[in-house]
Protein backbone atom coordinates (compact mmCIF):
# COMPACT_ATOMS: atom_id res chain seq x y z
CA UNK A 1 0.00 0.00 0.00
CA UNK A 2 1.39 3.43 -0.87
CA UNK A 3 2.46 5.71 1.95
CA UNK A 4 0.18 8.64 2.64
CA UNK A 5 1.50 12.19 2.67
CA UNK A 6 -0.03 15.26 4.28
CA UNK A 7 1.05 18.66 2.99
CA UNK A 8 0.48 21.48 5.45
CA UNK A 9 0.30 24.82 3.66
CA UNK A 10 1.00 27.70 6.05
CA UNK A 11 1.73 30.68 3.83
CA UNK A 12 -0.61 33.30 2.44
CA UNK A 13 -1.08 33.23 -1.34
CA UNK A 14 0.67 36.54 -2.02
CA UNK A 15 3.70 36.30 0.27
CA UNK A 16 5.86 34.58 -2.35
CA UNK A 17 5.85 31.30 -4.23
CA UNK A 18 5.42 29.13 -1.14
CA UNK A 19 1.65 28.57 -1.37
CA UNK A 20 1.87 27.71 -5.06
CA UNK A 21 4.81 25.39 -4.48
CA UNK A 22 2.97 23.60 -1.66
CA UNK A 23 0.03 23.14 -4.02
CA UNK A 24 2.35 21.80 -6.73
CA UNK A 25 3.52 19.05 -4.36
CA UNK A 26 -0.11 18.10 -3.75
CA UNK A 27 -1.03 18.13 -7.45
CA UNK A 28 2.01 16.03 -8.35
CA UNK A 29 0.98 13.47 -5.72
CA UNK A 30 -2.55 13.43 -7.13
CA UNK A 31 -1.20 12.97 -10.66
CA UNK A 32 0.64 9.86 -9.46
CA UNK A 33 -2.52 8.56 -7.75
CA UNK A 34 -0.86 8.74 -4.35
CA UNK A 35 -2.82 9.26 -1.14
CA UNK A 36 -2.09 12.93 -0.46
CA UNK A 37 -3.94 15.33 1.80
CA UNK A 38 -3.74 19.10 2.08
CA UNK A 39 -4.27 21.09 5.26
CA UNK A 40 -4.52 24.89 5.24
CA UNK A 41 -3.08 26.16 8.50
CA UNK A 42 -2.16 29.57 9.94
CA UNK A 43 -1.76 32.16 7.13
CA UNK A 44 -2.40 29.34 4.65
CA UNK A 45 -6.13 29.84 5.22
CA UNK A 46 -5.86 33.15 3.32
CA UNK A 47 -5.54 31.01 0.19
CA UNK A 48 -9.23 30.22 0.68
CA UNK A 49 -10.49 33.77 1.19
CA UNK A 50 -13.26 34.45 -1.30
CA UNK A 51 -13.23 37.17 -3.99
CA UNK A 52 -9.51 37.76 -4.21
CA UNK A 53 -8.24 39.84 -7.11
CA UNK A 54 -4.83 38.47 -8.02
CA UNK A 55 -4.53 40.74 -11.04
CA UNK A 56 -4.38 43.80 -8.80
CA UNK A 57 -1.04 42.42 -7.59
CA UNK A 58 0.03 41.36 -11.08
CA UNK A 59 -0.13 37.76 -9.88
CA UNK A 60 -1.77 34.65 -11.21
CA UNK A 61 -4.87 33.51 -9.38
CA UNK A 62 -4.18 30.51 -7.16
CA UNK A 63 -7.83 29.76 -6.44
CA UNK A 64 -8.48 28.30 -9.91
CA UNK A 65 -5.71 25.77 -9.23
CA UNK A 66 -7.20 25.00 -5.82
CA UNK A 67 -10.59 24.31 -7.38
CA UNK A 68 -8.89 21.75 -9.64
CA UNK A 69 -7.73 19.60 -6.70
CA UNK A 70 -10.70 17.19 -6.70
CA UNK A 71 -10.20 16.79 -10.47
CA UNK A 72 -6.64 15.65 -9.74
CA UNK A 73 -7.99 13.06 -7.34
CA UNK A 74 -7.13 15.05 -4.23
CA UNK A 75 -10.20 14.94 -2.04
CA UNK A 76 -8.63 15.00 1.40
CA UNK A 77 -8.76 18.75 1.93
CA UNK A 78 -8.76 20.31 5.37
CA UNK A 79 -8.74 23.75 6.87
CA UNK A 80 -7.95 24.79 10.42
CA UNK A 81 -11.08 26.46 11.80
CA UNK A 82 -9.13 28.32 14.49
CA UNK A 83 -6.68 29.77 11.94
CA UNK A 84 -9.62 31.04 9.86
CA UNK A 85 -11.46 32.52 12.85
CA UNK A 86 -8.29 34.24 14.14
CA UNK A 87 -7.97 35.95 10.76
CA UNK A 88 -11.59 37.06 10.52
CA UNK A 89 -12.53 34.48 7.89
CA UNK A 90 -15.84 32.71 8.24
CA UNK A 91 -15.07 29.00 7.77
CA UNK A 92 -18.49 28.60 6.15
CA UNK A 93 -17.72 30.89 3.20
CA UNK A 94 -14.26 29.75 2.19
CA UNK A 95 -13.64 29.33 -1.53
CA UNK A 96 -12.96 25.59 -1.36
CA UNK A 97 -16.27 23.95 -0.45
CA UNK A 98 -14.73 20.48 -0.31
CA UNK A 99 -12.39 21.41 2.53
CA UNK A 100 -13.39 20.04 5.93
CA UNK A 101 -13.08 22.50 8.78
CA UNK A 102 -11.16 20.95 11.66
CA UNK A 103 -10.55 21.90 15.28
CA UNK A 104 -7.07 21.83 16.83
CA UNK A 105 -7.75 18.43 18.38
CA UNK A 106 -8.93 17.01 15.06
CA UNK A 107 -5.77 18.31 13.39
CA UNK A 108 -3.62 16.40 15.88
CA UNK A 109 -5.51 13.23 14.97
CA UNK A 110 -5.25 14.07 11.25
CA UNK A 111 -1.45 14.43 11.34
CA UNK A 112 -1.30 11.16 13.23
CA UNK A 113 -3.19 9.36 10.46
CA UNK A 114 -0.63 10.21 7.77
CA UNK A 115 2.64 8.34 7.22
CA UNK A 116 4.63 11.45 6.25
CA UNK A 117 4.15 15.20 6.59
CA UNK A 118 5.60 18.16 4.70
CA UNK A 119 5.04 21.67 6.02
CA UNK A 120 5.55 24.52 3.56
Amino acid sequence: MPRSLLIISRQSPWSGPSAREALDVVLAGGAFDLPVGLLFLDDGVFQLAAKQDARALQQKDLSANLQALPMFGVEDLFVCGDSAAERGLDPKVLSLEEAQVLSAGEITALIDRYDQVITL
Binding site: P17, E21, D24, A28, G29, Q116, I118, T119, L120
Partner: protein, 130 residues
Protein backbone atom coordinates in the same frame (compact mmCIF):
# COMPACT_ATOMS: atom_id res chain seq x y z
CA UNK B 1 16.70 2.88 8.25
CA UNK B 2 16.05 4.43 4.83
CA UNK B 3 15.80 8.22 4.94
CA UNK B 4 14.56 10.66 2.35
CA UNK B 5 15.74 14.19 3.09
CA UNK B 6 13.94 17.26 1.78
CA UNK B 7 15.46 20.71 2.09
CA UNK B 8 13.45 23.90 1.61
CA UNK B 9 15.70 26.69 2.94
CA UNK B 10 18.48 28.74 1.31
CA UNK B 11 22.16 27.94 1.80
CA UNK B 12 22.68 30.62 4.47
CA UNK B 13 19.85 29.29 6.67
CA UNK B 14 20.73 27.39 9.85
CA UNK B 15 18.24 24.69 8.83
CA UNK B 16 20.28 23.96 5.69
CA UNK B 17 23.38 23.43 7.82
CA UNK B 18 21.39 21.14 10.11
CA UNK B 19 20.18 19.15 7.11
CA UNK B 20 23.76 18.42 6.06
CA UNK B 21 24.76 17.50 9.62
CA UNK B 22 21.76 15.18 9.85
CA UNK B 23 22.60 13.55 6.52
CA UNK B 24 26.22 13.02 7.59
CA UNK B 25 25.12 11.57 10.93
CA UNK B 26 22.61 9.27 9.20
CA UNK B 27 25.31 7.73 7.02
CA UNK B 28 27.78 7.58 9.90
CA UNK B 29 25.15 5.66 11.87
CA UNK B 30 24.85 3.06 9.13
CA UNK B 31 21.58 4.33 7.68
CA UNK B 32 20.74 4.81 4.04
CA UNK B 33 19.73 8.03 2.28
CA UNK B 34 17.49 7.12 -0.63
CA UNK B 35 17.41 10.66 -1.98
CA UNK B 36 18.12 14.28 -1.19
CA UNK B 37 15.46 16.53 -2.64
CA UNK B 38 16.01 20.30 -2.78
CA UNK B 39 12.83 22.34 -3.19
CA UNK B 40 11.78 25.98 -2.81
CA UNK B 41 14.79 28.04 -1.65
CA UNK B 42 16.58 24.76 -0.96
CA UNK B 43 17.64 24.76 -4.61
CA UNK B 44 20.26 27.41 -3.76
CA UNK B 45 22.19 24.75 -1.84
CA UNK B 46 23.02 23.14 -5.17
CA UNK B 47 24.19 26.37 -6.75
CA UNK B 48 27.81 26.65 -7.77
CA UNK B 49 27.34 30.40 -8.17
CA UNK B 50 27.34 31.25 -4.49
CA UNK B 51 30.49 32.89 -3.16
CA UNK B 52 30.96 32.59 0.59
CA UNK B 53 33.49 34.77 2.47
CA UNK B 54 36.66 32.75 3.12
CA UNK B 55 36.17 32.52 6.87
CA UNK B 56 32.58 31.30 6.56
CA UNK B 57 31.11 27.91 5.85
CA UNK B 58 30.66 27.23 2.14
CA UNK B 59 27.58 25.04 2.40
CA UNK B 60 26.92 24.42 -1.31
CA UNK B 61 30.50 23.18 -1.65
CA UNK B 62 30.09 20.91 1.37
CA UNK B 63 26.86 19.49 -0.04
CA UNK B 64 28.57 18.87 -3.36
CA UNK B 65 31.49 17.02 -1.76
CA UNK B 66 29.17 15.02 0.48
CA UNK B 67 26.92 13.90 -2.38
CA UNK B 68 29.89 13.10 -4.62
CA UNK B 69 31.82 11.21 -1.95
CA UNK B 70 28.87 9.01 -0.99
CA UNK B 71 27.42 8.79 -4.51
CA UNK B 72 24.04 9.96 -3.29
CA UNK B 73 21.00 10.70 -5.38
CA UNK B 74 20.83 14.50 -5.21
CA UNK B 75 17.78 15.92 -6.95
CA UNK B 76 16.98 19.61 -7.39
CA UNK B 77 13.37 20.44 -8.28
CA UNK B 78 13.46 21.75 -11.81
CA UNK B 79 10.47 24.10 -11.49
CA UNK B 80 11.78 25.64 -8.25
CA UNK B 81 15.27 25.94 -9.76
CA UNK B 82 14.04 27.66 -12.95
CA UNK B 83 12.07 30.15 -10.88
CA UNK B 84 15.21 31.01 -8.90
CA UNK B 85 17.71 31.07 -11.74
CA UNK B 86 19.56 27.95 -10.63
CA UNK B 87 19.95 26.37 -14.07
CA UNK B 88 22.07 23.55 -15.38
CA UNK B 89 23.63 23.74 -18.86
CA UNK B 90 20.70 21.98 -20.50
CA UNK B 91 18.06 24.33 -19.06
CA UNK B 92 20.21 27.41 -19.70
CA UNK B 93 20.37 26.32 -23.32
CA UNK B 94 16.65 25.60 -23.48
CA UNK B 95 15.69 29.02 -22.12
CA UNK B 96 18.59 30.91 -23.70
CA UNK B 97 20.13 32.07 -20.43
CA UNK B 98 23.82 32.76 -19.99
CA UNK B 99 24.31 31.72 -16.37
CA UNK B 100 24.79 28.06 -15.55
CA UNK B 101 24.75 27.44 -11.79
CA UNK B 102 24.27 23.69 -11.35
CA UNK B 103 26.18 20.69 -12.62
CA UNK B 104 26.82 17.10 -11.55
CA UNK B 105 26.42 15.53 -9.03
CA UNK B 106 23.08 17.36 -8.98
CA UNK B 107 20.24 16.37 -11.21
CA UNK B 108 17.35 18.66 -12.10
CA UNK B 109 14.09 16.75 -12.09
CA UNK B 110 10.42 16.98 -11.22
CA UNK B 111 8.34 16.71 -8.06
CA UNK B 112 7.61 13.09 -8.90
CA UNK B 113 11.10 12.39 -7.52
CA UNK B 114 10.02 13.73 -4.13
CA UNK B 115 6.94 11.50 -4.06
CA UNK B 116 9.00 8.57 -5.27
CA UNK B 117 11.45 9.11 -2.38
CA UNK B 118 8.57 9.37 0.11
CA UNK B 119 7.33 5.98 -1.08
CA UNK B 120 10.76 4.41 -0.97
CA UNK B 121 11.96 5.69 2.41
CA UNK B 122 11.01 4.66 5.93
CA UNK B 123 11.13 8.28 7.01
CA UNK B 124 10.96 11.62 5.24
CA UNK B 125 12.94 14.24 7.13
CA UNK B 126 12.27 17.86 6.13
CA UNK B 127 14.43 20.88 6.86
CA UNK B 128 13.64 24.55 6.45
CA UNK B 129 9.90 24.36 5.80
CA UNK B 130 7.42 26.89 7.12
Amino acid sequence: MKFAIALFSAAHAPSSRRALLFAQAALAGGHEIVRLFFYQDGVYNASGSLVTPQDELDLPRQWRSFVTEHRLDGVVCIAAALRRGVLNAEEAGRYQREAVAVAAPWELSGLGQLHDAVQDADRLICFGGA
